[in-house]
């Protein structure tokens, strides 16, 4: 039976991911009464349910441990032809990598996002505890140039804009964010391309040790000729390319009542011992203050703005309407309600936040959506298109020359020093991840499933899905021969990934589709393509891959499926080369920050230009996307925002 709820708080927050949880905690510590509306199911009392779902999932994808269940009746087939739950029935649907196949990406009965193309938007998110439940833990700072793209490169790349803040405006907040998340890294290792730290600063914990693959790649790139690296277009000739330990919110020592990493090689989708920070940790801290009310299975459906105007001509938000649904994935409405508050914070990620803003039409008073006088809401959607490559190291009895994957955190090191330089006026920058999970998700382009299963099946059943069983017909082995062959091959597998900078393009955008979800709300539609600038970034990544593989003496097994919807071709050295990308899960740009209300949605404190008591937070505010993973910058911005709300809106002393 439907009933109406009316509640009142100091602050109402939509979304319980990083941004929402951090702001809730900061405000609750100062005794502000906060309510969080979370669209997904609640946080379980421990993570065993998530782990059991992960262990028994045939498709071990980033979304597997979390709800809603991907497949009806828990039938978790990874078969591209098998049917997922229809998002029209789900109360809080979400994208999944399983709907990025040629068969599914444009099928509105499979894909939660209505993908209008021309290219697929390949990133996904979760509902419970935000889009970042399944993050890897990477906590890179942006380099100073990333905030000044218009000044530095805007003459040749018109799409670039400056951030309204610079690196130094965030330096202290970065430090606070590193403390809250518990980041393991070394200052000396992280001072590159202009990144600097306050005097005597140190990260909360020492860096995470590097993996065998990291060491081999470090050695391989230690002696290069300027000719070999001239394609990079760096300012000075490059004769070595260093690797750096990846700063990560992953404990290298006990920290925050959590254990040190035990190398479960499962950061994505879930750390079984919570050595990796996830948003439920700050959320629990927030709840423990006693000042935070958490409402799960509660979907914000409209932001209501006042009919009266403030002295500056803007209108405040008066309340948020919400829908509560029952205890199932396909739950029906059990109540509707409204929450009133002094301050409203939308922290629902860069797809769900613009969706809510665009849904909020106030009976025609805000026909283009709330906070959208600039017409920028939903525009400039960005990701870090992720180009992956995989190879096999040479056969050797020297154990130090083998990669030994499936050991350690998923990624322990990266190449960071190539992400800024004069080349940025011509092509997208990239940073490089070095994977520690072999060919796990890359094998055969993911078309048959994951490794080590695919390589194993190949040599048990005389097949060649992996590309490794080249004999005709394929070898089918048993016994000790089988085991030794698999040991030899798997221990030499490695993969790398390139996160490529994407230009903000106003036509890459989130709009409302005609398709609805289980609560009768319109689902997001996505229009998306890679610019020539971004594609050239992937071309440079392809060349970097070739250089690295050559130096390693590795055989290249990278392939692009013929029917991959993200496939595209570029001419490289006179030959057409098939390339592709997947998503990094870094959804950015759809309510950009800026100083001018005509060209941006929020100011540098993430306050909406149009509505002074409305804050839109998260990576949607990023005017440009850089190459660093966005989470640390999200948290730094949100800590800065929380302090601003306390001093400016609640008039509390600093």
């Amino acid at each position: 039976m439907a009933y109406d709820i009316s509640i009142d708080f100091d602050v109402a927050i939509v979304g319980s991911g990083f941004a929402g949880a951090v702001i809730a905690y900061e405000l609750a510590k100062k005794n502000k009464k906060v309510v969080i509306l979370e669209a997904g199911a609640g946080i379980p009392s421990d993570i065993n349910k998530y782990m059991q779902r992960f262990y028994t999932s045939r498709a071990k994808v980033p979304e597997s441990p979390y709800t809603p269940a991907l497949f009806a009746e828990n039938d978790q087939l990874q078969d591209p032809k098998s049917q997922l739950q229809d998002p029209k029935d789900l109360s809080a649907g979400r994208p999944t990598v399983l709907t990025l196949s040629a068969q599914k990406w444009k099928d509105e009965h499979q894909s939660y996002l209505i993908q209008k193309g021309p290219q697929p938007f390949a990133s996904t998110y979760d509902r419970v505890a935000g889009g970042t439940s399944h993050w890897l833990g990477t906590c890179l700072r942006f380099v100073p140039s990333d905030f000044q793209m218009q000044t530095l490169y805007g003459e040749s790349v018109k799409e670039f804009v400056n951030w309204p803040i610079k690196y130094d405006d965030l330096n202290d907040a970065y430090g606070k964010a590193e403390k809250e998340l518990g980041v393991s890294a070394d200052v000396t290792d992280q001072a590159y391309l202009g990144i600097h730290f306050p005097d005597k600063y140190s990260y909360p914990m020492p860096r995470i040790p590097e993996s065998r693959t990291d060491t081999l790649i470090r050695d391989a790139l230690s002696n290069l000729s300027p000719n070999e690296t001239s394609f990079l277009g760096m300012k000075d000739p490059i004769t070595r390319i260093g690797i750096r330990a990846l700063p990560a919110a992953r404990n290298s020592q006990p920290y925050g009542n959590r254990r040190a990493c035990a190398g479960n090689t499962n950061c994505i989708p879930i750390c079984p011992i919570q050595a990796k920070y996830d948003p439920t940790i700050t959320l629990n801290d927030a709840l423990n203050t006693g000042f935070v009310t958490f409402m799960d299975r509660t979907v914000a459906s409209e932001i209501i703005v006042d009919t009266a105007r403030q002295s500056d001509g803007t209108q405040n938000v008066t309340k948020i309407k919400f829908i509560k649904y029952d205890n199932s994935d396909t739950g029906k409405r059990i109540a509707t309600g409204t929450v009133t508050a002094k301050i409203f914070v939308i922290a629902a990620n860069a797809i769900e936040t613009p969706r809510l803003l665009l849904m909020s039409k106030n009976e025609g008073r805000t026909v283009n959506g709330v906070a959208n006088s600039s017409d920028k809401v939903g525009r400039n959607l960005m990701d870090h298109p992720y180009y992956v490559a995989w190879g096999l190291l040479p056969q050797t009895d020297d154990l130090r020359k083998r990669a030994f994957p499936y050991r350690g955190p998923l990624i322990t090191s990266g190449i960071e020093d190539l992400c800024d330089g004069p080349f940025r006026s011509k092509r997208g920058a990239f940073r490089v991840d070095i994977g520690n999970e072999g060919w796990n998700f890359v094998v055969a382009g993911g078309q048959f499933g994951a490794d080590p299963a695919i390589t194993t099946i190949d040599f048990v059943n005389g097949m060649n899905g992996s590309g490794l069983n080249k004999a005709q017909p394929g070898e089918a082995l048993l016994g000790v021969d089988l085991a030794k062959r698999l040991n030899d091959l798997i221990s030499r597998q490695f993969r790398i990934g390139f996160l490529v900078e994407q230009t903000p393009d106003p036509e890459n955008r989130v709009t409302l589709s005609d398709a609805k979800d289980g609560l009768d709300l319109f689902r997001p539609a996505i229009t998306y393509k890679l610019s020539g600038y971004t594609r050239q970034g992937i071309v440079a990544a392809y060349r970097m891959k070739n250089l690295l593989f050559q130096k390693l003496g590795a055989d290249d097994f990278t392939m692009v499926q013929g029917d991959d919807p993200a496939r595209f071709e570029e001419q490289i050295d006179g030959n057409p080369v098939a390339l592709t990308y997947t998503g990094a899960g870094h959804i950015m740009g759809t309510y950009r920050m800026g100083t001018d209300p005509k060209s941006s949605v929020v100011d540098d404190f993430q306050r909406a230009h149009d509505h002074k008591n409305l804050f839109l937070v998260g990576s949607g505010v990023f005017p440009t996307g850089a190459t660093a993973n966005p989470t640390l910058t999200i948290v730094a911005l949100c800590l800065r925002t929380a302090e601003h709300i306390l001093t400016e809106d609640f008039k509390m002393p600093k």
């Binding site: 993996s211 035990a262 078309q447 048993l478 000790v480 085991a483």
Partner: protein
């Protein structure tokens, strides 16, 4: 997916004491008379009886079969297998099938029996009939591969031990040699974490490490100081 019948998992024959001297077939025959119903899968003849995980000779044959197919020593697949050692010249089938708290062999035995009782019985018979062979592993591999039915069930059994997942023999038989998606089922969370491929790769199941911080910086070492892959053998010790 072909013929997943996991609902039969809970219907294994009633437990019998492997030491009473009564054979399973005696008991089943008696049960059939008593109830008037013949419940044995695959046919009504006692010759088609289901393999029984509670029968010592069946379980020992299964562990030996698994050893030959996977290359992994019997007492690694089934901790304490063979202990205490039998006197010289004693029948292999009199060995202790092994007891351990995880007891993954029983899970697999029941699972395979539920899927393919007739072919499974044939595989166990190959082991029993050839148990005096001086090259037992090689003999088992050769005899198993003499027939498509036993070949593909044997492959399913290898994948079960290696990956903790069930790949139906029929799906393996019809899969394209170029590579194909093959449906599978994770038998349980326990079987995922017990998959041998991870140890063959000198790693650990993703999401289930029992190692310590920083181990990944060094090439793998055996926690008991044994040489790498010491659990692989084609000889019975």
């Amino acid at each position: 997916m072909a013929n997943i019948r996991d609902q039969q998992l809970g219907t294994s024959p009633r437990k019998q004491d492997a030491h009473t001297g009564l054979t399973r077939r005696d008991v089943l025959a008696g049960a059939a008379v008593a109830t008037g119903v013949v419940t044995v899968a695959g046919g009504s003849s006692p010759a088609n009886a289901r393999p029984d995980p509670n029968l010592r000779e069946d379980m020992v044959a299964f562990v030996l079969l698994s050893w030959a197919l996977t290359g992994i020593a019997p007492d690694s697949l089934a901790p304490t297998f063979g202990r205490p050692p039998p006197p010289p010249n004693t029948d292999l089938l009199a060995l202790n099938p092994g007891t351990d708290p995880i007891d993954i062999k029983t899970d697999y035995f029941k699972w395979i029996t539920a899927q393919q009782p007739v072919t499974f019985e044939r595989l166990l018979k190959i082991v029993k009939d050839n148990r005096t062979s001086p090259t037992l592993a090689a003999t088992i591999m050769q005899k198993v591969q003499a027939d498509p039915d036993t070949t593909f069930l044997a492959r399913s059994i290898v994948l079960l031990w290696y990956l903790g997942s069930w790949y139906d023999p029929q799906d393996l038989k019809t899969a394209s040699p170029k590579g194909a998606f093959i449906p599978s089922r994770v038998v349980s969370a326990k079987t995922y974490t017990q998959g041998w491929i991870w140890r063959i790769a000198q790693a650990h199941p993703m999401g289930y490490s029992e190692l310590q911080f920083g181990y990944w910086s060094r090439p793998p070492v055996d926690p008991n100081g044994k040489p790498p892959l010491a659990f692989l053998t084609d000889k019975l010790s």
